[in-house]
Symmetry: C2
Subunit: 713 residues, 2 copies
């Protein structure tokens, strides 16, 4: 590490190669230009080291930016042989070293312990990581006295705080824990402190099994690489993971960190990138922003590490099109080379990610059809609860089609770093609405959240899920423990046929109970309701709240349709129409809802929802979602505003077999869903010439006529 | 016109030049590629001539598209010497000629008379215009028999319908009338019918003063070029105007149409293009789509004609950046050349467009500051009522800042061509809400619309307006006839100073009456309310409707603040914060509203509104709007979330003088507004060393300190 021309994550030769990308119209060229501008702006401002402030405050923002600039100016200085930039980074470090020891601890604002610069220590870990990378770049040209003063005034007291003052927290297996060990470990490599490096890799007890980087890798992700809190926190956790892994691989290859725990890092990179929607956004599972995407720094590092250190599949490389910038690192160059000439029109493939430390705690199906931005992506969730950030959303569904999330995740109730929104922290409506079952696309039982909205209880349980055979994009999920005495099953599949341009989403949600319950099937949609078909819609004269707890207290009822066994509605979002059709055995009321009741602090988005409600012991909701037509408001062009599915019908069938009949102007489609126990049996359709032998979960029968058939098994 | 190589609007030489733009990455290259694709798609479909259908239906869309393809395939055929394309255009014409005479008239759906292909004759005029341009391109290579059959079967019966059957409508001065005369005139030039050409230029009586193109030009626009119905219908009317004017200028230059009526066409082009917001969208004044923009075909033709036939100012040429495509015509090439090297960063200038046939019926102020997309644009309206499409919005305000419309026009209640929304026609909520005063950004008196919501009455009246002196972007408007016994005045200005990055909008709305009235100050904002400052906001437990008529029946009251003489609220839209501060003399209640009550057919958008209400005889609402800070949700970066204006205060002053004090962290700004009668007087501010002599409407005094001063006159 101390070799001349080696700056921990960068060598002089690599910097030479990076320099050649300056001015190029590619992700690296853009990132280099952004770096130059950022450093120039900071140099123009001069050295500003403020006191303490709320998230989003001037103080908070300035400390954050300063850490970036310490790394950035040092990197830019080395890249462009710019001594002013190097001096600027050094002066910033010196400024902090002069005051850090005397700074009091911040006031704690949440469950995280406070740091000196920030109100949660997590931010201070991030700060140390960037500052350490900056120090690595500066070190060869620092005077001995200056180097010593930086260590004494800044880096040593930070290490001391993280490993002594907060020693009890250092081994915690958590995304914050990953930042802690990466920051301490990278700092230790730079300042050559073998003791700190050892605990950051192997944990305080040196075993590598209860704390430290190796344990984090092995325990934080499922054997398949899934991160329990979901994609939003996954991309946050992967950032220090990529940096520290790269540093260890470069300087301690004997630790074989890149293949540790059966290649857990590689699997984790795969999962993170695979969870992204075709537009690059991450589905907002659990506490999550609806805007977080592949252009996040962590995701950029992830894509680069995958391209540089592993065999990256073409389907994942194609996602790099969603990244405007790039990690300024040899791995970023490797990505740039890897995507050269890669066809971005890759057919997306469905995947099931198993959850839990041993991969036995259910999982998450990501069902995909199509290519590029036009691809569809369905997420069906039946894994572990996402710990403190978990939502009560077993068997929750989200659906991306035609460039937009059609069945929407609500995400979190939080404006990160917006000081005027409760200091940028989680808002009380996050518990009150966002986490509750009714805030998701699923069936709520008795107007109560799953697991009685008890996080500890939810953490102990999980669902089960498998992909469907006979279908490129289908899954079946079960959860029998979310509500006492009610078993839930959801089968979801994308159906491609000659009848529609865009595949149709089928959703069969079955509840089984011996006691009667109130079942609320609900989903969040966007855009503007065009029309309810068939059932007459009544707008209410005064808006009433739907309930008093479990999220219902935040829902306005705007209108309703009388009880019926069929409901159908079309909405328009952007340039596309979407229609939903639903059939139930018992008549269901249908409601048009809007989020936002009991919200004096304006903490909820006024999103639109649909709910159908019925009371029954056991019941199945058969739903169908289709994307159709187009509308260009500016050009005033429109076509295909009516649903393509003319009739949606459930044909009578034996237990364990579901036969859905979809009638189009161009013919009919029968979709036969059979549970494993019924496979191997034969089915006789009146219209069919010969009995159909059921061999798999899904069988599609395309009939040219539009006349209805009956069938018997 | 019959010369070989002359195709009415195009010559062979011009087509050669256009051909050279194929494959270029510019607006013309893109339009040529789009034309080629459109023609190829139609040729692949073959000849399809359906029956009759609703707007947005397959039939309606196919007829519309066929007319475009007749012109387009003929043009593409000539451009690329493609005989198949020429044959396709000819076959389409022949197909229509074979059936047109036998087609029954459509059922009339609104006040427009029906055609055969479409339910309103307007669409049939548009159809004829495109088909005639196609015929002009085909004519030289048609056999005599084929040409005659097209005339007999299609063009003659169309002309007959327009000039005989609907003769009583032909001279109507209206945007539909422009399409009628342009279609008939262009057809007449192609088929060489001098009689039809004569009436299309000079009207049925041949005077050129009561009907026909010349009268339309002179009467449809104000002397300054303003179109009474507003920009949305202006860009629609300008399309046939550009085509017919170009055709006449080419073949009958002796008519001097381009300079007719004191250069009315040039002025009209100026006004249309000047009304567009910096992002290219037209403010949705009167009945209008919120999406219509400079990329509309009519606006493309307008920009091209201006560049080709007049001296186009740099400020308007810079707007061509908002046009993705181009008129495929020599004028389009002229535009392409004109914009080469034009700096698009042009400082926008404020303008006042006078309304009415003699320019004496009030007008519309377009106040602008800044450059490019970052420019601000305020519209203050005090002109004529927009006839049948008019809204009751005298002294209405809209405001564009930081790339978005901040104070929003609601626009129309209509989904054009969306068959499932009442056949794409105007919805009843257009009268019920969109046209009413409360749907605009202004003060509503006694919960009633202006002019008692009577169009005929409104058509007889107008407001008055002038630009403010002493300020680059300010206007004063008055209207004393909208409500009995109430005089209204509104002064609006953009204030630039060292204290804010983005200019601040000041809005002083004064109502004068001897009787007490209920005054509702209201505006539509977007985004998400961050916080009400000072006054405590109460969310309501059940939503109630605000009233029972004049648009109030469509408003939900979501929450309120107790009566106070000051209210302040911040909202976040996209990446920018906006804050509003208001002061009144009498305490006003403040309401948070949402559009959408009594809307069983889902015809209203659920937009957010703010309203402050008080009862008084005379009263002034002093409002201030500031754009501040930034938020990047994906990057989780935020700054400047709090308003920059710390205090907003009205200092005591003499009648006719208003002194507003704005206090920032960086000092104070006094804004002195003086009515003309008070100009020439002197004002002594306590803080000032010497008396201030008022010389103009607006005087800004920038004080370094933040202590308050009192003043006396």
């Amino acid at each position: 590490m101390s070799a001349q021309g080696d700056y921990l994550l960068w060598t002089r030769e690599e910097l030479d190669e990076l320099r050649r990308q300056q001015g190029q119209d590619n992700a690296m060229g853009r990132s280099l230009a952004a770096l130059e501008a950022r450093v120039a702006a900071s140099m123009a401002r001069g050295i500003v080291i403020p006191g303490q402030g709320e998230a989003g405050s001037f103080e908070h923002n300035t400390h954050k930016e300063n850490a970036r600039v310490i790394e950035g100016a040092a990197l830019w200085g080395r890249l462009s042989d710019n001594v002013q930039a190097l001096a600027h980074a050094e002066e910033l470090l010196a400024g902090y070293a002069a005051c850090y020891r005397d700074m009091p601890y911040q006031v704690a604002r949440n469950t995280n312990p406070p740091g000196r610069l920030f109100h949660q220590i997590l931010n201070e870990h991030i700060w140390l990581l960037h500052a350490s990378l900056g120090l690595a770049l500066l070190k060869p040209s620092l005077s001995e006295a200056r180097y010593q003063s930086l260590l004494d005034g800044l880096f040593q007291p930070m290490l001391e705080m993280f490993t002594e003052t907060y020693r009890h927290d250092f081994d915690r297996i958590h995304n914050h824990g990953l930042w802690a060990v990466a920051a301490v470990g990278i700092c230790a490599m730079v300042i050559e402190s073998p003791e700190h490096l050892a605990i950051s890799i192997d944990g305080l007890d040196g075993s590598g099994e209860t704390g430290g980087f190796l344990a984090q890798i092995a325990l934080l992700f499922s054997p398949q690489g899934y991160y329990v809190e979901g994609p939003y926190y996954h991309r946050f956790a992967i950032h220090p993971l990529c940096l520290f892994a790269e540093a260890i691989e470069r300087h301690h290859p004997e630790r074989r960190v890149l293949t540790h725990a059966d290649g857990r890092i590689e699997k984790s990179l795969h999962v993170l990138l695979s969870t992204a929607y075709p537009d690059g956004r991450f589905p907002a599972l659990n506490d999550a922003s609806r805007s977080m995407d592949l252009d996040d720094e962590g995701a950029r590092c992830a894509m680069s590490l995958l391209a540089a250190r592993y065999e990256a599949p073409r389907e994942l490389l194609a996602l790099a099109r969603q990244q405007q910038g790039c990690w300024i690192h040899a791995n970023g160059l490797a990505l740039l080379n890897a995507v050269q000439g890669v066809d971005t029109q890759v057919e997306a493939t469905s995947q099931l990610f198993r959850d839990g430390p041993d991969g036995q705690s259910g999982g998450h199906a990501h069902l995909k059809r199509g290519q590029g931005l036009a691809a569809q992506h369905v997420v069906l969730t039946a894994g572990q609860h996402g710990m403190g950030h978990g939502h009560f959303d077993e068997l929750g569904l989200s659906f991306f089609s035609r460039g937009k999330e059609v069945l929407k995740e609500y995400g979190f109730a939080r404006w990160v770093n917006v000081e005027t929104k409760f200091g940028g922290r989680y808002l009380k409506e996050n518990e009150g609405y966002a986490k509750q079952s009714v805030a998701h696309n699923l069936v709520v039982v008795d107007m109560q959240s799953q697991h009685a909205a008890n996080h500890a209880l939810a953490d102990e349980r999980h669902g089960e899920i498998s992909l469907l055979t006979g279908c490129a994009a289908g899954a079946r999920a079960r959860c029998d423990n979310a509500h006492d005495g009610v078993a839930m099953q959801r089968e979801v599949l994308l159906v491609e046929s000659r009848h529609t341009e865009t595949p149709i989403l089928l959703d069969v949600f079955t509840l089984t109970s011996e006691q009667p319950h109130v079942y609320d099937y609900t989903f969040h949609h966007g855009g503007h309701v065009v029309r309810w078909w068939g059932s007459e819609f009544t707008a209410l004269d005064a808006l009433e709240v739907m309930g008093d707890r479990h999220g219902y207290q935040h829902l306005w009822k705007q209108g309703q349709c009388r009880p019926a066994t069929g409901h159908s509605m079309t909405w328009l979002e952007g340039d596309s129409f979407h229609s939903w059709h639903q059939i139930t055995q018992a008549p269901a009321e249908a409601f048009q809802l809007r989020v936002g009741a009991n919200d004096p602090d304006h903490n909820l988005r006024p999103d639109a929802k649909v709910m159908t409600r019925l009371t029954a012991t056991s019941q199945t909701f058969y739903s169908l979602f289709e994307s159709h037509g187009h509308f260009d408001e500016a050009l005033e062009q429109c076509g295909g505003a009516r649903p393509q599915v003319i009739h949606f019908r459930v044909l009578p069938s034996a237990d364990g077999v579901t036969i859905l009949e979809l009638t189009f102007a161009t013919g009919r489609l029968l979709v036969v869903l059979a549970e494993p126990a019924r496979q191997g049996e034969s089915l006789t359709l009146e219209a069919g010439e010969r009995p159909l032998r059921i061999e798999q979960d899904v069988t599609l029968i395309d009939l040219p006529d539009t006349a209805r058939v009956s069938q018997n098994t």
